[in-house]
């Protein structure tokens, strides 16, 4: 659809063919996270291949969002390691030692990931087009005309070509979230992290946002990690589904395996409660 999108990451089929041989795009090993006195992540291991779409499901407080926020270093992990696109999140390896990254280095490392938040978090003092072009101009140092052209394409693609000059306060929640997706896509990350992107929306607005996400999953070739309560979306789009509860990964499998034929009682109980 948009030529700029197809060039941003290795094509999906190629990634699928090489999945067993290449290093994973996201590799999470023995990760634990402690906030003060409460531990929210226990011994998390998960590999996500390039081009894969993984949905994280589970009850609230399971640590899904925290895990996602550790991947782009919005939260610092307490133990273990996370690699994204081969490099260790938050550290530089040199001569057998790990050097903590300075904030500006961490910022550069973060460019490999994009994030979409539950509360959209659009910059309130900027129009849609300014929201989308801002980081491309100030962080990627793209020439302004190029950034604007790319942003126009993306806003058209999420169905908001007519709202380019609107401020977030003039948009519905669903429209804001679609601008937020365009804003993250503009940076051409290799991994997109969606943190409950539809949970704050009115029910009738959820469909449009899911439609955009489906489009991204199918055509962008990016690696997607989606924390969601939309089981229909997970079933339809996810290559794999991860079920988490109380800070641990309970089971991982294809959507069919986890959603239709869960191996654990904990998963069964959750699905029964959600799908009721």
């Amino acid at each position: 659809m948009n030529p700029s999108l197809s060039t941003m990451a290795p094509g999906r089929t190629m990634a699928s063919e090489q999945r067993d041989r290449t290093t994973p795009m996201v590799s999470i090993q023995s990760v634990e996270k402690v906030f003060g006195t409460s531990q929210v992540l226990f011994d998390i291991d998960l590999d996500v291949q390039a081009g894969e779409t993984v949905c994280l499901i589970g009850p609230s407080g399971a640590g899904k969002s925290t895990l996602l926020r550790c991947i782009n270093h919005l939260e610092k992990i307490t133990r273990g390691s996370i690699r994204v696109d081969g490099s260790l999140v938050g550290y530089r390896e040199h001569l057998g030692k790990l050097y903590e990254l300075h904030e500006s280095e961490a910022a550069r490392q973060r460019l490999v990931t994009g994030m979409v938040f539950q509360q959209f978090n659009l910059f309130q003092h900027m129009t849609s087009i300014e929201n989308v072009t801002f980081a491309a101009i100030k962080v990627l140092r793209l020439p302004k005309p190029e950034a604007i052209e790319r942003a126009r394409g993306l806003l058209d693609r999420v169905g908001l070509g007519h709202k380019m000059d609107s401020y977030p306060s003039q948009l519905s929640g669903g429209q804001q979230q679609r601008v937020a997706i365009a804003r993250a896509m503009q940076m051409r990350p290799k991994v997109m992290l969606f943190d409950e992107p539809t949970s704050a929306l009115d029910p009738e607005l959820v469909g449009d946002v899911l439609e955009v996400m489906r489009d991204v999953a199918r055509t962008s070739g990016m690696t997607l990690m989606v924390v969601t309560h939309e089981m229909g979306f997970a079933r339809e789009v996810a290559d794999r589904v991860v079920f988490m509860a109380e800070g641990r990964i309970v089971e991982v499998g294809t959507a069919r395996e986890v959603l239709d034929n869960p191996a654990h009682d904990r998963t069964r109980d959750f699905l029964a409660a959600v799908l009721r």
Binding site: N72, L74, E103, S104, A107, R108, R110, L111, T113, G114, M115, F117, Q119, N121, L122, F123, Q124, H125, F134, A135, K138, V139, L140, Y167, A180, R183, A184, M187
Partner: protein, 286 residues
């Protein structure tokens, strides 16, 4: 005020019957009292034989007074500028993760908000009494690059600007801090997730949004600063009040010259208030 109650309104009719409005006796009585007080005060000033009103008119556009007025405006603008700059720096330091840096900022606010402005001004104005020279060099060594006698550097005008800036920045730092905190965490996280450094996040995302919250209280600070400049007359800072007192020291027309100063202060404040109204309305439209 009193006129409003006595205006005859068309008689209201409901369901074919006349409606008797509530009689607010207390409010009407108070209105009368207030009116009497106002008239008495104004009459008292206007007819007081000890106030020579022609003198007020004579000195309103006196060259020294106009000079003083310009001095007051200059003091206000410079002090406001420096105070705002310092306030932003202190507010950002206050939010630092380093305890030493945020502690310094807290101490700064405590000290300069705690010292009465008049004390601060006299201290700064007389800095030459206890620091004889002002020098730039390497601390705790004898190496100096520049040394100036404090007396030459610290003219009353400079001392006034420094005193006013320090005092104002203490208050403003707290206002700016509140403004910075009013920008939600999500805004900062979104910028961070897009690869912004903390400095870029502050400059492009937090400060512009904080500014909107800051405009009304900073406008008030500007008015306060304008009024505070009168205090610099204690070190003869070259402001409007200094000029007025200088003249009255010669002709003994103290009240008349204070009235002259009052008229100018109110005039400038009126202009500032109107400007603030328009700035606020513009920023509210966004």
């Amino acid at each position: 005020m009193t006129g409003r109650a006595s205006v005859s309104r068309p008689v209201a009719m409901h369901a074919g019957m006349e409606v008797v409005p509530v009689r607010r006796w207390g409010r009407q009585a108070l209105a009368v009292v207030v009116a009497v007080v106002v008239v008495t005060v104004v009459y008292g000033f206007a007819t007081n034989p000890n106030i020579k009103w022609p003198v007020v008119g004579e000195f309103l556009l006196n060259a020294a007074i106009v000079d003083g007025l310009l001095g007051t405006l200059e003091l206000t603008i410079w002090s406001m500028m420096f105070a705002t700059l310092i306030a932003v720096v202190i507010a950002v330091m206050r939010l630092s993760d380093s305890r030493i840096i945020s502690g310094f900022a807290a101490g700064y606010v405590f000290i300069f908000r705690g010292i009465p402005m008049i004390v601060l001004l006299i201290l700064v104005g007389n800095l030459g009494l206890f620091f004889k020279t002002f020098s730039i060099g390497i601390p705790f060594t004898d190496i100096t690059f520049i040394a100036i006698r404090t007396r030459d550097l610290m003219t009353p005008f400079v001392a006034s600007i420094i005193g006013l800036s320090l005092a104002g920045s203490g208050y403003m730092a707290e206002i700016v801090r509140a403004g910075l905190l009013s920008v939600g965490r999500g805004q900062r996280e979104a910028a961070t997730a897009l690869g912004c450094t903390p400095a870029a996040t502050l400059r492009y995302i937090v400060l512009p949004q904080a500014l909107k919250v800051l405009i009304p209280p900073m406008g008030n600070e500007m008015v306060s600063m304008l009024k505070a400049t009168a205090v610099v007359s204690v070190i003869a800072g070259g402001d409007l009040l200094t000029a007025a007192l200088g003249i009255s020291g010669v002709n003994y027309r103290t009240i008349e010259l204070l009235i002259v100063a009052t008229i100018w202060y109110l005039l400038v404040i009126t202009v500032l208030s109107i400007a603030q109204y328009f700035v606020e309305r513009r920023s509210a439209e966004k």
